[in-house]
Amino acid sequence: MSRQAVVTGLGFITPIGNDGTAVLDSLRTLRSGLERVEFLGNPALTVKVAGTIKEFVTDSPSWRDWRYPARYDLPREALRSVGPHGLYALCATEQALLDTGLTRDELTDGNTGLYCASSGSPFMAYHHLSQLHAVRGERGNPMAVVASIAGTLNFNLAARYGIRGAVGGFASACASSSHALGCALDDIRLGRQTRMLVVGAEEVNAETILPFAAMRALSTQTEPATASRPFDQTRDGFVGAGGSVCLILEEARTARRRGAMVYAELAGWGQAADGYNVAVSHPEGVGLADAMRRALADARLTPADIDYVNAHATSTGAGDRSEAVALRSVFTAQGARPRVSSTKGITGHPLSAAGVMEAAFCALALREGFIPGNANLSTPDAACDGLDLPRRTLDVQPEVILNNSSGFGGSNVCHILRRSTF
């Protein structure tokens, strides 16, 4: 491919920090972003912990009641048609645009696109549909649809920032924002776009998180700092989380011409599905292994070139085991031994937002020279035999990082990020 793509802007609203500096510090120290929660005012619920967003209060369906940092000057027109995760996304995007220094003209010239991922806002949908039922369908808030359904992020962000290039949303559950990032890379490589904003976001509330308890997928641990334990033998489910990340991907020569600061190169991606089960990973991790191999081939790299893998591992029994098996087949069996960690030990699992959030963590690791460790990993699952799972963050400069994501239906996406030579 003659056209390369580089990451030139990042914005973070995450459980482990609401700007790049705070996120970097949390990744270096493995400071947990999880807190005790009580959903629906019900102390009997077994879900006690979540990856919360600090500095934001969004427990009302009315934007008028929301509280968020004063540094974000968001007009009524930007807030009236979003749910809480849309607010996170607006703030993350404001940050990323400030970070990369794009002008309004560059955003609106048709060469900038926007790909988003979220599960929509079940919280807003429930509120608006309850209103609709209460009046027997005779009236409703005209913003209900665009604030609630999947696609709410791309509707709102494209309008706010005047994006006139490729705009769309991706729905592959926890692989959604990874699909968004991969397709954004393709658009830049193919010359369809010069830059792409990739945004993932999710809410931290009962409506988004508790349905996973019905699937028996959530941890019932009560101690926030240690509830999420990817790859550990004692893991008992994932900890739901939310937030938003905006990652700006830009054609490399264009970025260089304008003197943009570059975090990393997005060197390739791959995807493959399990074709196995609607909600459970393939026990041998066949889809994820294929996704990793395809990403390596796309980036023209070998397993031995990878210094660090940011695993999808969410702290579920079946999912982590499946990924460990896939990693062993791709790396260990080929004599390669990259460091492997899951940052979900400190963030929890931000669902659709996970892929782009972790790609952004990888970009920080490449720029700042470190490899995140595995929080709360004491005794690795036997399936991890042969994997190098650092317990602490290492002051080691990675050159190439592979980032995994997996979603319902067995969708697997893998990205490869490389230290920038620009």
Binding site: W63, L74, E77, R139
Partner: protein, 130 residues
């Protein structure tokens, strides 16, 4: 923009109305009470103007009777629908698409709301109670 929320409400506001008007100044909430208690048309005008001001995109535009909602105040069709939904919810009236289309100016809206409230008082327009 960080919205401010007032916690002081006139005693006769129902919880639902108090919630809808919580971000308006006290004189607007008092106007609602006067409108409901005595049918005070001037109070209705105060209420309508405050709601237009709250929704209108161009905050620097002059809020006069002759001001066109779209051309002068910056409304688009969705923002008008949003404002009408607020009025429906607050006043418990139903507004049809055909009625919305006929409202072009601030003066049209004030007159329209007066007629709607008169119809409601006469039992000709009763929206379902939420």
């Amino acid at each position: 923009m960080q919205p401010s929320v007032s916690t002081s409400n006139p005693a006769s506001l129902t919880p639902a109305v108090a919630a809808l008007l919580r971000h308006f100044p006290e004189e607007v909430r008092s106007a609602f009470v006067r409108l409901r208690e005595s049918g005070d048309a001037a109070a209705g005008d105060t209420l309508v103007l405050a709601i237009v001001a709250d929704h209108m995109p161009d905050k620097n535009a002059a809020l006069v009777d002759s001001a066109a909602l779209m051309a002068d105040l910056g409304f688009d069709s969705v923002t008008i629908a949003e404002m009408v939904f607020f009025l429906e919810d607050l006043l418990q009236v139903n507004v049809s698409n055909a009625e919305i289309i006929r409202v072009r100016t601030v003066g049209d809206l004030r007159a329209f709301v007066r007629v709607k409230l008169a119809d409601q008082t006469a039992g000709r327009d009763l929206a379902p109670r939420a």
